[in-house]
Amino acid sequence: MTITLFIPCFVDTLFPEVGICMVEILERLGHKVICSEEIACCGQPAFNSGYWDEARQVARPVLKTLQTSEAVVVASGSCGAMLKVFYPQLFAKTPEAGESHKLSSKVWEFSDFLVRKLEITDLGARFPARVTFHDGCHGLRELGIKKSPRLLLEKVRDLQLVEMADVETCCGFGGTFAAKFPMISTAMGEVKCANATETGAEYLVSNDSSCLMHIQGLLSRKSNPLKSIHLAEILNQK
């Protein structure tokens, strides 16, 4: 299969290793991976803030570029939700409406792609550590992703998965929300950090780097030894 990997702007600039791991994993599985040079952002920040014209300015090139893709795998639940669920809303009643629905049917978040499309759960990975998994809200509720990451982690050798309390409660990132309402965002993040720490895990893992950026930011500030890591990084460990 030829897979178009969509790497969101913050993964590109701040967490490139996440994208690198994804490429390596997919290539090892025997697929061809394309990463488009031209597109860099799904347009969610403007969309979430209500500036839909400006969001379309960013989203339209993404829509056009991905039209010919066989499968689009997105390196984050929130950007995956943007492409799959919100593009049809963003482009409703525009000439691109049809294209947005067509793209939507081809979009997958990374872990969900492995499990539900490629039907693979064992990547031969090994990661000897106690970890706890955080469900990013967009992946969880917009894309219905709950089991896939856990099925993948189950097959990682020597990994012990413990669930935290209130695991489905939002970490408080929420995109521009984190900057516009920092006091609420921080409180929510502190609750998430406390719940994660309580599990005694060494690593907090998620399929969304944006959540991890926020949670790690709080962990580091409080010198909490809990380390954050993206699911793809674990799956790429031998």
């Binding site: 994208g19 040079e37 860099a40 403007a46 969309f47 509720r141 409660t169 900057a179 921080t186 930011g217």
Partner: protein, 464 residues
């Protein structure tokens, strides 16, 4: 920035940082979740129940005129006086008019969020009447001169010690840490009020069009007493409370109890079909039902968000919302808090003044997931944001997104921007926390990862 927004930020900052409040909410809401999940599991198919409830409310709201006419006609046929209030002011006027015409002095009230909405108590007190809230939680916040904290649990922000102190001060009772004793203190204090009140005012959970009945759900029995003893009874009800048929309650009453409080069924579910009828031994001689619009018809006229009128005011969305949990009910500064409040308040009280309620959400979607009538709550927050930006865009924010789009659509420029970011990163670190820090809202409480030497796109290009 509207004054409501400024107040919101001040209050949110204070409450979100209040660790004691955080613990109180967590304890209360975890208890609720356990009870709710147990009762949800009693349904063999909760999701289908939600579909059915959503469809029923869709039917009700999208044929609202027919149902309201039916309701009014049925109520009137049994002697109830039906009043129609387009605005809060009209509703207050109608109710004060009734009170005055009866030569009344004292009023007992059971829980009514619509009464909060129109600031009825203030108006009645200003006119010189004694008003007593009979619901325990409402009674407590009334004594504290503050609004309810939660639409179903008005005093959830208070500890038993705070309530004990309050009763000591206001009622002269002895201090106690026992919730049972505190409840008995309130019960004793309110007993005589039921008996002597001239007027009983209630809200309503449902208005049954088919049979002309007002359905009231409660646990304490205070609404039952409010509707039994005073000579005149008034029900204030939002016109969206319509339910088409009486038998629909077979589904709605259990769903309301399950989602709202983790109960199989609330203690008292009562249908009132009129004043005392010939042959009946007690009950009000006069029954007035005041139908309240107060801009609900404006929300009705927005087909995209019309389903927000399906709300049965169960409070489930408040219970699951991490925003509500961290900022508390009072921070919203308006009658309806939590996700439903964040959706409807811009419609009922002004988009530009209240858009911040729709903005202050991470859009996690827990509300939409839990809503028993499947209102598309978190997506409506997005719709409100879009409408607010379209009618009054922020110059700078819009420019920022336009500049971002321009940069991101030009790979060469985007590359240069990233390079600049990398060069400036150490400088940003150096000024972190100071007035020069461009990302101060973030760095005040959180660290930022350093910008890696090589971006993903660069790695990918070098591979080739």
């Amino acid at each position: 920035m509207s004054s409501s927004f400024q107040q919101f930020l001040t209050d949110a900052t204070r409450v979100a940082g209040d660790i004691r409040h955080r613990g109180l909410m967590q304890t209360a809401l975890r208890k609720y979740e356990v009870a709710r999940d147990r009762k949800k599991a009693a349904f063999s198919d909760w999701e289908s129940a939600r579909d059915a409830a959503a469809e029923t409310k869709w039917e009700a709201i999208n044929h609202l005129d027919e149902h309201l006419e039916n309701l009014a006609q049925k109520l009137e046929s049994r002697g109830t006086k039906v009043h129609w209030a387009s605005t809060a002011a009209q509703a207050r006027e109608i109710i004060l008019g009734i009170i005055k015409s009866k030569g009344a002095c004292s009023i007992i009230k059971s829980k009514a969020m619509t009464a909060e909405e129109i600031h009825l108590n203030e108006a009645m007190e200003k006119a010189g009447y004694e008003v007593v809230e009979s619901d325990l939680g409402e009674y407590i916040v009334q004594l504290r001169h503050e609004p309810p904290y939660h639409i179903v649990f008005p005093a959830m922000h208070l500890t038993r010690d705070q309530i004990s102190e309050l009763f000591e001060k206001e009622l002269g009772s002895a201090p106690t840490r026992e919730p049972e004793e505190l409840t008995m203190i309130a019960r004793r204090a309110l007993r005589s009020k039921y008996i002597t009140a001239d007027i009983g005012i209630t809200g309503a959970n449902f208005a049954i069009a088919e049979t002309g009945m007002i359905s009231i759900t409660e646990n304490e029995g205070n609404a039952r007493l409010t509707a039994a003893l005073p000579k005149t009874m008034i029900t204030l009800v939002g016109l969206e409370k319509i339910l088409p048929k009486m038998e629909d309650l077979a589904l709605f009453l259990p769903m309301l109890a399950t989602a709202g409080a983790g109960q199989a069924l609330t203690c008292y579910n009562t249908m009132y079909g009129g004043p005392r009828q010939p042959g009946e031994v007690d009950g009000p001689e006069e029954y007035h039902v005041v139908l309240l619009d107060n801009r609900r018809t404006e929300l009705l006229a927005d087909p995209e968000q019309r389903d927000a009128l399906h709300c049965i005011r169960c409070g489930a969305c408040l219970n699951v919302c991490p925003i509500f949990r961290n900022v508390g009910g009072h921070t919203y500064g308006t009658t309806y808090s939590g996700p439903i409040g964040s959706v409807i308040t811009p419609h009922l009280r002004g988009l530009q003044e209240w858009k911040h309620l729709s903005a202050s959400s991470s859009l996690c979607g827990a509300c939409t997931e839990t809503c028993p009538v499947k209102i598309d709550l978190h997506h409506h927050l997005l719709h409100n944001r879009r409408n607010a930006s379209a009618s009054r865009p922020s110059f700078f924010e819009r420019k920022a997104y336009q500049v971002f789009a321009w940069v991101v659509n030009r790979p060469a420029i985007y590359r240069i921007a990233k390079q600049c970011g990398r060069i400036l990163d150490p400088i940003r670190r150096a000024v972190q926390g100071t007035v020069l820090d461009p990302v101060k809202p973030w760095t005040k409480t959180r660290d930022l990862p350093p910008m890696p030497e090589q971006s993903f796109k660069e790695w990918h290009r070098n591979r080739k």
